[in-house]
């Protein structure tokens, strides 16, 4: 089985992000970057698939040199080799999907795993676009997976429940929390990852379909107000919730 897993290098959700001078990018100073958390489920599932069927797992990332850190994390978890599709430009989701598809197409993967969304831009569309460019089927938001022969049975998370779907290889699968428990990179894995290859390739040139015009922080939260500290405050609270907050 030839398995690919696409990973992106994103700001840690726990860091406080500042907007840069140009108002179109975040200011990377002091920001810790990590592997996209949804991609960790993808890496885990890719490794499990290899453990079951044999074969090879290749991790692919589109980005600048910093993305190598995330590729190395995937290698330390057990992925066999890494490919960096190198670019210093900020691409939109279509550009990223095109770059990925171009590389994936050349190598004829049976399954491509990736997170259901990247926690930096949250477009939640790269998997679907990639499958379209590749001519593969696509299963998104997978929380359970079973592969037998050419057949893939998956459970998808949908509003208020689950949907069971069936598809055929080759397929792009986007992974959702609940699919598995991603393993830690073991200390031996970290040492072994040093010896694994990260291939650098230029990306296919694309033009962005959307352009970032401006980034804005959400409005600062208004400070809270204490109406009172005992039951006597209830009528006033109800009144304010009704008239001011308009929630009841």
């Amino acid at each position: 089985m030839k398995v690919a897993v696409c990973v992106s290098h994103v700001p840690d959700t726990a860091t406080k992000v500042k907007i840069g001078q140009d108002e179109k990018h975040i200011d990377p100073a002091g920001v810790v970057f990590i592997i996209n958390p949804y991609d960790e489920f993808a890496v885990e599932e890719a490794l499990k698939t290899k453990e079951k069927f044999g074969g090879e797992v290749v991790a692919i990332s589109v980005g600048n040199d910093n993305s190598k850190e995330t590729l190395r994390k995937a290698l330390a978890m057990g992925v066999d080799k890494g490919i960096l599709l190198k670019t210093d430009k900020s691409l939109d989701s279509v550009g990223i999907a095109k770059a990925l598809a171009e590389e994936l197409k050349n190598q004829q993967f049976d399954i491509v795993f990736m997170g259901k969304q990247s926690v930096d831009y949250d477009d939640s569309i790269v998997g679907q676009l990639t499958s379209e460019f590749l001519g593969y089927s696509c299963i998104s938001n997978a929380v359970y997976l079973n592969i037998e022969g050419q057949k893939v049975i998956a459970e998808r998370e949908i509003e208020g429940g689950k949907e069971v779907v069936e598809s055929e290889l080759p397929v792009v699968i986007t992974t959702q929390k609940g699919l598995n428990e991603p393993r830690y990179a073991s200390l031996k894995g970290i040492m072994a990852s040093k010896k694994k290859e990260i291939l650098e390739k230029p990306i296919v040139e694309t033009t962005n379909h959307t352009e970032v015009v401006k980034m804005r922080k959400p409005a600062a939260k208004q400070p809270g107000r204490i109406i009172g500290t005992d039951v006597s405050a209830v009528p006033e609270l109800v009144k304010l919730l009704h008239e001011e907050a308009k929630v009841i």
């Binding site: 994390k73 830690y184 040492m191």
Partner: protein, 389 residues
């Protein structure tokens, strides 16, 4: 919840290699996810979180510096130190478990064991399938282990072991005890397996420190030890002290983790706790406390860093390890006490980690050579006069 992101005022991270940082961060994440959420419960109950042993084994946290041949990660000593530092940010008891397994059980088997002993025990100890303990201290011989009365006597096909050990970390849960006993007056190491007739390991109860760690007595009543279970290359007490030297190195690193946890907790608390309509962090006396903590953490980090590099070069002296163990344990305990003060009443409740660390560090300051004994070891080194024999 606030995510712990380390304490590094002097950009010491820039001295560490990419591998060292990756290892440190992996263990940091592991501790945040697997240890911190369960530790207060275990500390309250006085139980060791058994379920983390196999997870630590999978991660490769046991015997990290030993060869890959034995299923170990073969890391350098700085990495080993960083692993223990992160573990002790979780709890000194967890770090103690790993110190004992790695430095006091796997190290002596690797260093003084036969090929057969190494091949059998090391891979099993590396995964955590087998748990080890180290029996040196006796009820009447703590700082002075040379006086031990536990005795082995040669018999046909092996040895008969008699005596008792006390204060033994992991004793009750161990499958294997590395026990030091006198054979014709010479201290030798023996591998005593769980289930050997006449060997019992009752747990010691009532500890107010290291509650999430098992501490036991080891009792040997005419225990028959087959010939193959003698550590063949042990020739005296100095071999046991070599093990302690490995473990002390790890403790010096470990307590920096406890320091960081206390500092982090106190710093955050002081910024959000309002008294007299200002955060307590805005008062000079609180700031002085925080600055003291951070300065001592930074000094300890640099001491450890250089100690680690010297060990990796193979030129570290045991007296230098004594200095780091002595200084860092004392400062960690001071920091924990000050953090507790900053938290006021909240400092004594286990919703915050500081009281647990403070209590733990009392034991950590005593075991593996007390503060006083390390003073005397360094004192002898610099003056040439031994204050003890």
């Amino acid at each position: 919840m606030h995510k712990f992101s380390g304490v590094d005022y002097y950009n010491i991270d820039s001295l560490l290699s990419e591998d060292e940082l990756m290892i440190r961060d992996t263990v940091r994440d592991f501790v945040s996810a697997e240890i911190i959420p369960v530790i207060e419960k275990h500390n309250r109950e006085g139980s060791f979180p058994i379920q983390v042993i196999s997870k630590m084994g999978e991660l490769g946290l046991f015997g990290t510096t030993l060869p890959q041949k034995y299923n170990c990660a073969e890391l350098n000593n700085v990495s080993y130190g960083l692993v223990l530092q992160e573990l002790e940010r979780g709890d000194s008891g967890i770090r103690s478990f790993v110190s004992v397994q790695s430095s006091l059980v796997m190290y002596p088997i690797f260093t003084f064991g036969s090929e057969e002993q190494k091949d059998f025990w090391l891979p099993r100890l590396a995964t955590g399938e087998k748990i080890g303990c180290f029996g040196l201290t006796e009820p009447d011989f703590g700082s002075n282990p040379g006086g031990m009365i536990t005795k082995a006597q040669k018999v046909d096909g092996g040895y008969l072991l008699n005596g008792a050990k006390m204060w033994i970390t992991n004793g009750t849960i161990a499958n294997l005890a590395v026990v030091w006993a006198k054979l014709d007056g010479v201290v030798k190491g023996f591998l005593v397996e769980k289930g050997f007739k006449g060997f019992t390991a009752p747990e010691m109860k009532g500890k107010l420190s290291l509650r999430a760690s098992v501490t036991s007595e080891l009792i040997f009543d005419n225990v028959f030890i087959p010939d193959k279970n003698l550590l063949p290359k042990t020739t005296g007490l100095k071999n046991a002290l070599m093990c302690l030297n490995q473990a002390r190195f790890g403790i010096a690193w470990g307590v920096v983790g406890a320091m960081m946890a206390c500092y982090d907790s106190a710093l955050n608390y002081s910024k959000s706790r309002i008294q007299f309509s200002k955060p307590i962090a805005a008062y000079q006396m609180t700031q002085e406390k925080l600055v003291f903590m951070l300065t001592e953490i930074t000094k300890a980090q640099l001491l450890n860093y250089q100690m680690g590099r010297l060990k990796d070069k193979g030129i570290l002296k045991h007296t230098q390890v004594s200095m780091a163990k002595r200084n860092n344990c004392e400062k960690a305990l001071e920091i924990a006490h000050i953090a507790r003060e900053i938290l006021g009443a909240n400092g004594i409740i286990d919703e915050y980690p500081v009281m647990r660390h403070a209590a733990n560090l009392e034991a950590v300051k005593t075991y593996e050579g007390t503060h006083e004994m390390h003073t005397l070891i360094i004192g002898e080194d610099i003056t040439g006069f031994a204050a003890f024999d």
